[in-house]
């Protein structure tokens, strides 16, 4: 069966709501995983439900400029996260404290080999919590949801230039925190095997 594009599916779903289920099946895992990182596993399901409920309600607004509906959905997800911004920042700081004490939290511990992952997470959590929220949104859409700068611009309705400069600033900010507080952390890419 030929796969329909997201745009075709969503456009059909305006008249035939059941078609929207396929959009959910296509993208729910990506949206859920992004949200699980951002709001934690307790809220991820609710937040994902909220994203798709909103997307369904406003499905006639999807303009199909992008091939995939994922940037659009992650843009909605960003709005949902924004409503819980304080909760997210609290969570990041609480996470940093827990990581300091050595608790693994919900995030999976890799086999003990990860480059001093625990200390790194502490620093990163603090840095993320301290970032201006738009920069944090942009950076995490890049790092956690793997969107390109153009897709992020589309998702957040921002000019591409703004996204690029936000990305640059956010990375600099995080890198500076890493440099200041964890000089032993390696910043090179993982070696190729």
């Amino acid at each position: 069966m030929a796969a329909e594009s997201d745009y075709e599916l969503i456009r059909e779903s305006v008249a035939v709501p059941a078609r929207f289920a396929a959009v959910f099946d296509r993208h729910s895992r990506s949206v859920y995983r992004y949200l699980r990182r951002r709001v934690g596993h307790e809220l991820a399901a609710d937040a994902t439900g909220e994203v798709f409920t909103r997307a369904f309600r406003h499905r006639a607004r999807f303009d199909g400029r992008a091939e995939s509906a994922l940037p659009w959905l992650l843009g909605i997800a960003t709005n949902v996260v924004r409503m819980n911004r304080r909760a997210e920042e609290r969570r990041l700081r609480a996470y940093a404290r827990a990581a300091d004490r050595g608790a693994g939290g919900e995030l999976t511990d890799e086999i003990d080999a990860r480059v001093d992952a625990q200390a790194l997470r502490t620093v990163l959590s603090v840095a993320l919590a301290a970032l201006p929220s738009r920069q944090r949104d942009v950076l995490l859409l890049r790092a956690w949801a793997d969107l390109s700068a153009a897709e992020i611009a589309d998702a957040l309705s921002l000019p591409p230039g703004t996204v690029r400069s936000d990305l640059h600033r956010a990375r600099q900010f995080v890198a500076a925190r890493l440099g200041a507080e964890a000089p032993e952390v390696m910043l090179e890419k993982e070696p190729n095997l």
């Binding site: 709501p17 289920a21 309600r57 997470r121 956690w144």
Partner: protein, 680 residues
């Protein structure tokens, strides 16, 4: 600077495809489905001209192939004539996004929404017997006000909200919501905004409803709309459906004990399910009876005589029950990946699966024989016919619809080393019997790029210089860690993917030792590539789907891809036979030629045995749902291999032949890498 992105991604990993994710997505999908189902046909308010209907149908047909769509058109005609109209609270459609934050986004009450009863789809085993049903709809029979017995009303009020008639519509006690609040929760809550907060929304709606409607209306609506339980994915909505389901009688003919049982269910339908949790159901029923005595609805004598009655539930045949909900859940999942959701939702399909009922029963029996009680770890089995990728059995020892064999992603331990074994054979033409490594504890620093990476064997015993064959038989991780470094992890990853591993892999060194999350089905699929003599077939549980108009889609004839030559596979067969005859997997030996590999994780949280004959490939996993719990004696060879043994002994069905000697034998040569040593 992109290393910041990389660090962020690597440092905040969340598990993928784990039980939480799968359960959450199932829940969310149900929420979205209900939002979709309750959406009225959209008024013409979208931008741009709507294409004429005929044109849009042609468009659909062109997109999806004629057969399915022609049937959709027919069913749309039928649907119109069987509309059941119910009153529900519904989302107001012109709410702008931002107003959801404040009160303006609250839903309006009293919108009439058509609800269409859906047809069931039948799931059949390979032999045509019924395995279960897929049906998204709820069973619901609406009772008119006068058809609701007085006893049912009194019992419900006593059990849920004793001051219902005189008290307020909203209470602040979260433990004891009023019936009005419960009704709001049943009808509206799934789509309530996260930011709005359920409690606030619930209270406001309950007040609105209470101002608009009489208490009698609210109570009757509750009795018709509350969820009394679910069986096999079908939700029993309303007390009449529950009465038919559990007693095969209309609610008007039930006695006091039966009424008290049903009335108690909506509070926690799954926990007090009379079929699955009879003791809890009984306790809940007696609680309802005492509450009725407390409100003066019945006498203490009537209550105590009702308490002496048993549950006497006997499901009505009209409400079909799946024999194996986990299999049906997986089949539904596979179906959704291949058939448009609208077609599945409309129902009426016949899905012929590849499940062999005898193998499935053997699988269940073997799992339960070894891990039979609720306190035991979960044990799951997946078994594949290597000649075509047909899944003949997928089972676990738990009653829930969650399919552990297909959906739980767990660490396979050294069962994963087979991919390094196949890489040295295939990519390097290296003969495992002539290639030697030094078995010893690999202290942190041995792999300079990963300074904390150390490797020991599960038993902490070391053999000195041994061949790869010997290392496989004894499951020596230290040898495979070195071999993987010599081969390069990307090569091992490529082999794993070619053989059937679909989980994402990152080329991280410990992946070769099984520090990855894979399903039991993936492992069975990978070993099936060896069982078939080197050809990988995508695994499938569905052989064909018959649509309501009689047209058929065949999903069972997936072409295979040759990954290894038969000669190469035969060399591996001989190595892996040693695991069963003299290695860590002797508990799997059922007296016939077979090959396999144990898998044990470093903290004993997961135990695997994966193996095959030339007719059947089977993987068994044992572990607690909580991934951090260790198991006593948690070796793959002690926990998983005996289950594999019991299953294969039966499922082999008399087949007991050696792997066929290849017409073009392969011998390879000694492989030389940075860590290899001379023959001792």
């Amino acid at each position: 600077m992109t290393s910041v992105d990389h660090l962020l991604a690597a440092s905040f990993r969340v598990p993928e495809n784990d039980a939480t994710e799968n359960a959450d997505l199932i829940t969310v999908r149900a929420v979205i489905n209900s939002a979709i189902e309750s959406a009225p046909p959209r008024r013409r308010r979208h931008r741009g001209p709507r294409p004429p209907r005929a044109q849009s149908e042609r468009h659909l047909r062109a997109l999806r192939g004629g057969r399915i769509v022609s049937w959709l058109a027919v069913s749309a005609g039928v649907v119109v004539s069987v509309v059941v109209v119910i009153v529900a609270l519904s989302v107001h459609h012109s709410v702008p996004a931002r107003s959801a934050v404040g009160g303006a986004g609250a839903p309006t009450i009293g919108q009439v929404v058509p609800r269409v009863p859906k047809a069931l789809s039948e799931v059949l085993a390979a032999d045509g017997s019924v395995l279960g049903y897929i049906g998204l709809g709820a069973t619901r029979t609406v009772l008119a006000q006068r058809a609701i017995p007085r006893l049912v009303r009194e019992a419900t009020v006593a059990a849920e909200d004793p001051v219902f008639w005189t008290g307020p519509a909203v209470t602040s006690d979260p433990e004891r919501p009023t019936l009005t609040m419960r009704l709001v929760r049943e009808l509206y809550l799934p789509s309530v905004s996260l930011a709005e907060g359920r409690k606030g929304m619930e209270a406001r709606l309950a007040r609105k409803l209470s101002a608009l409607r009489s208490r009698t209306w609210i109570l009757d609506q509750y009795l018709n709309d509350a969820t009394y339980g679910s069986l096999d994915g079908k939700t029993m909505t309303g007390i009449e459906a529950a009465s038919q389901m559990f007693f095969d009688e209309p609610v008007s003919r039930l006695d006091l004990a039966q009424v008290a049982l049903l009335v108690g269910l909506p509070d926690a339908p799954a926990l007090t399910d009379p079929l699955r949790a009879p003791a809890a159901a009984l306790q809940r029923r007696d609680g309802v009876l005492s509450a009725m005595v407390a409100t003066g609805s019945i006498t203490a004598a009537a209550a105590s005589s009702a308490e002496r009655a048993g549950l006497h539930v006997h499901p009505d045949a009209a409400y079909p029950v799946s024999k194996d909900p986990a299999v049906v859940a997986y089949v539904a999942q596979q179906l959704r990946a291949q058939i448009p959701a609208g077609v599945i939702a409309a129902g009426g399909l016949t899905i012929r699966t590849t499940i062999e009922p005898r193998d499935q029963l053997e699988a269940l029996a073997s799992l339960r024989a070894h891990e039979g009680t609720a306190r035991d770890p979960v044990a799951a089995l997946a078994s594949i016919n290597p000649s075509n990728g047909h899944i003949v059995a997928i089972a676990d020892n738990r009653p829930q619809a969650f399919n552990y064999a297909t959906n739980a992603a767990r660490e396979p331990g050294s069962a994963f080393t087979v991919f390094a074994l196949m890489t040295v054979i295939h990519d390097q033409d290296g003969n495992p019997a002539n290639t030697f490594y030094s078995s010893h504890f690999l202290a942190p620093g041995w792999w300079p790029a990963y300074p904390t990476y150390s490797v020991h064997t599960a038993e902490d015993s070391y053999q000195g210089d041994i061949s790869i064959t010997k290392a496989t038989i004894l499951s020596d991780n230290t040898v495979f860690a070195q071999l993987a470094q010599d081969l390069g992890m990307p090569k091992v990853t490529a082999t794993a993917h070619a053989m059937g591993i679909t989980s994402p892999l990152t080329n991280y060194p410990s992946e070769v030792l099984g520090a990855v999350a894979v399903s039991t089905l993936q492992m069975a699929d990978a070993y099936a590539t060896l069982a078939s003599g080197g050809i990988h077939h995508p695994p499938t549980a569905i052989s064909k789907v018959v649509f309501p108009d009689g047209s058929v889609v065949n999903l069972g004839d997936q072409p295979g891809t040759r990954v290894f030559s038969y000669g190469q596979v035969y060399a591996a067969d001989k190595v892996l036979e040693g695991v069963i005859t003299e290695g860590t997997g002797t508990a799997a030996d059922y007296g016939c030629p077979a090959a396999g590999k144990t898998g044990t994780t470093s903290d004993f949280s997961d135990a695997y045995f994966d193996g095959y004959t030339s007719k059947l490939a089977t993987a068994v996993w044992v572990g607690y749902p909580k991934e951090t719990l260790s198991m006593a004696d948690g070796f793959g060879g002690t926990l998983a291999a005996p289950i594999w043994h019991d299953y294969m002994e039966q499922a082999a069905d008399g087949f007991c032949s050696d792997f066929t000697y290849p017409t073009a034998p392969w011998s390879g040569h000694a492989y030389h890498g940075a860590h290899t040593v001379r023959k001792p």
